[in-house]
């Protein structure tokens, strides 16, 4: 995955063991997690102030939905991928077409989604 080597990632995920696993997957794919948050408020702060190339957003963070963070990223024109534990129902109307990955996912699935995201950011 040469084209994404060194890409900096903001990881937003509220389940510790799952975050560790995703971090390890990203590391294996050659990406680097530069910031990480488990709550919407901290994630908004990081999304506004930190410098990174893409974000992985868990839709449900301890009961709060992550969409405020997504809006900040959209305004900053930074691509993001939703990771979701929800079954089928669509994400909020304005993000209906945003790229998403259902949990649990394999490293191959993550790699494919990230590849598409970086080639066609759809901002």
């Amino acid at each position: 995955m040469a084209e994404i080597s060194g890409t900096r990632v903001l990881l937003v995920e509220d389940e510790g063991s799952v975050a560790l696993m995703i971090e390890d997957m990203l590391e294996e794919l050659g990406l680097k997690v530069v910031a990480s948050a488990a709550h919407v408020s901290k994630a908004c702060e990081l999304a506004t102030k930190t410098s990174f190339d893409l974000a992985l957003l868990d839709v449900n963070l301890a009961g709060e939905l992550v969409f405020p963070v997504a809006r900040i990223l959209r305004d900053r024109k930074i691509p993001f991928l939703f990771s979701t534990g929800y079954g089928g129902p669509p994400l909020e109307e304005e993000f209906r077409d945003a790229p998403a990955l259902g949990k649990p996912f394999s490293i191959e699935q993550l790699s494919e989604k990230l590849g598409t995201l970086l080639r066609h950011p759809k901002l």
Binding site: S17, L20, M21, K42
Partner: protein, 462 residues
């Protein structure tokens, strides 16, 4: 002489006939003077008033009239005698000698001479007692029906061709306004379909029922009150017909389904939450498996470690399901994790605290790791080793729980050569997930772990 005789005969025949007619009438007929005194009566009047032919001529009609009706009758008769009015009708009560009351409809008029002078009054009396009783029973019956409709907790209203003609208290409460008679065709202020689009009053289920002359069922709508509040409801409009089968109006019952909607919503939220938890749990298991595999030398080492972590997770879930995922008592959590393994060598002490579900799961993972490491490499790997686990309210912050895990009497401690998954996991759980503090040090006497994390302030946590 014959002509006189013939016309005299004719006159007599006419009089006889008149008298017969007078007597045969089933209504009471009388002639009275300007004071109301009876000059002439028929049998029917005697029957109606319960007085004889001898008694009546000595009386006025006021004498047997109920005192409450006398004044009106008197006033009207006086005006009639004076010539102000030609005639009048009145319904009044008459008292019979036996005390019983009859309701009479009176038709009163005058006979005047060619100059218009009053000669005598003519009164026709009809006994309408039975009819009146029927009317009263009907009115009482109607009142009973209205009382019943008022008492029902569902909003009920009826319409006729001109619009609303009845609504009960519950209808006013639901609509949040007092409807106007003649409103078409609803009691509500504003109406919407369940999806929020406006529903004009002349297209509501009641209007449809009236227009198409059939009951409407299965509809659902939302009523908006003047104060802005919204009430979801189900209407049951049903046409009303007269005895001939013609449509005379309709009745509608509005059943408030707010509670049902709340329950439906709550269930939807719950199911979404459940989906989310299950997916997260599966991802967690995936993580535990992959992490354990990374750090296990071989499958033999992998399985017990992985199973141990999985079971710890399962035990935390047990505690949570016991209390419907509301919360879990910290001291019980600790006990459940420690008891199977410690053999009494883990001493715990601290007050009761209730943890929310997320915190409980994180804390479970952490204690499981600490315990497993203690058993494998730490104090619990030797028979004389022990662990003390103490906790309490944060010294600097009332809304945190501080606890300390201290190992003693184990083999000499050397800090781990690299951070294993367990340490990373514990740090991640406490610092990241719970926004707490986590500090694991390896002192010569044994591993010591101090952590602090926020807890919800609730009645049970003081």
């Amino acid at each position: 002489m014959t002509k006189l005789h013939a016309s005299e005969e004719a006159r007599q025949a006419s009089e006889t006939r008149l008298a017969a007619t007078y007597e045969a009438a089933s209504v009471g007929i009388s002639e009275i003077d300007e004071n109301g005194r009876f000059l002439r009566v028929n049998d029917s009047l005697c029957r109606i008033t319960g007085r004889s032919r001898d008694e009546l001529p000595g009386m006025t009609f006021f004498d047997y009239t109920d005192p409450n009706d006398r004044a009106e009758d008197a006033e009207l008769y006086a005006r009639q005698v004076r010539g102000d009015i030609a005639n009048y009708t009145i319904r009044k009560r008459a008292l019979r000698p036996d005390g019983s009351v009859r309701h009479l409809d009176i038709f009163s008029s005058s006979v005047r001479d060619t100059e218009g002078r009053f000669l005598y009054g003519v009164r026709v009396a009809q006994d309408v007692t039975a009819t009146k009783q029927l009317e009263d029973r009907l009115r009482d019956g109607e009142q009973r029906m209205r009382d019943l409709l008022e008492a029902l907790p569902a909003a009920i209203y009826t319409t006729d061709a001109e619009g609303l003609n009845f609504y009960n208290r519950a209808a006013v409460e639901m609509a949040g306004r007092t409807p106007q008679p003649g409103d078409e065709w609803c009691v509500t202020w504003k109406l919407y379909w369940p999806d929020g689009s406006p529903l004009p009053h002349n297209e509501c289920p009641m209007a449809v029922a009236l227009r198409e002359k059939r009951p409407v069922r299965g509809a659902e709508a939302v009523a908006e009150r003047p104060d802005g509040g919204r009430v979801p409801f189900i209407p049951y409009p049903t046409p009303l017909r007269d005895a001939a089968g013609n449509l005379v109006g309709a009745i509608n019952m509005l059943v408030d389904i707010s509670e049902r909607k709340r329950a439906e919503n709550a269930q939807k939220v719950l199911i979404d939450e459940l989906n989310h938890r299950v997916k997260n749990t599966l991802a967690t298991v995936q993580s535990l498996a992959s992490q354990t595999a990374r750090h296990a030398a071989d499958l033999e080492e992998f399985l017990p470690t992985f199973t141990g972590r999985l079971l710890a997770l399962a035990r935390a879930h047990d505690l949570l399901t016991q209390r419907n995922w509301q919360d879990a008592p910290f001291e019980k959590l600790v006990d459940d994790i420690v008891a199977p393994v410690s053999g009494g060598r883990v001493v715990t002490e601290g007050p009761h605290f209730d943890l929310d579900a997320r915190t409980a799961l994180s804390v479970t993972m952490v204690f499981n790791e600490l315990l497993t490491n203690a058993v494998k490499y730490g104090a619990l790997s030797l028979p004389d080793g022990s662990v003390s686990l103490t906790w309490g309210v944060g010294r600097h912050n009332q809304s945190t729980l501080e606890c300390e895990w201290r190992e003693r009497g184990g083999p000499p401690v050397t800090p781990p050569k690299r951070r294993g998954f367990g340490t990373r996991l514990m740090e991640r759980c406490i610092e990241h997930d719970l926004a707490g503090e986590f500090d694991l040090v390896f002192e010569p006497e044994g591993a010591r772990c101090r952590m602090a994390f926020p807890i919800m302030l609730s009645a049970s946590n003081g």
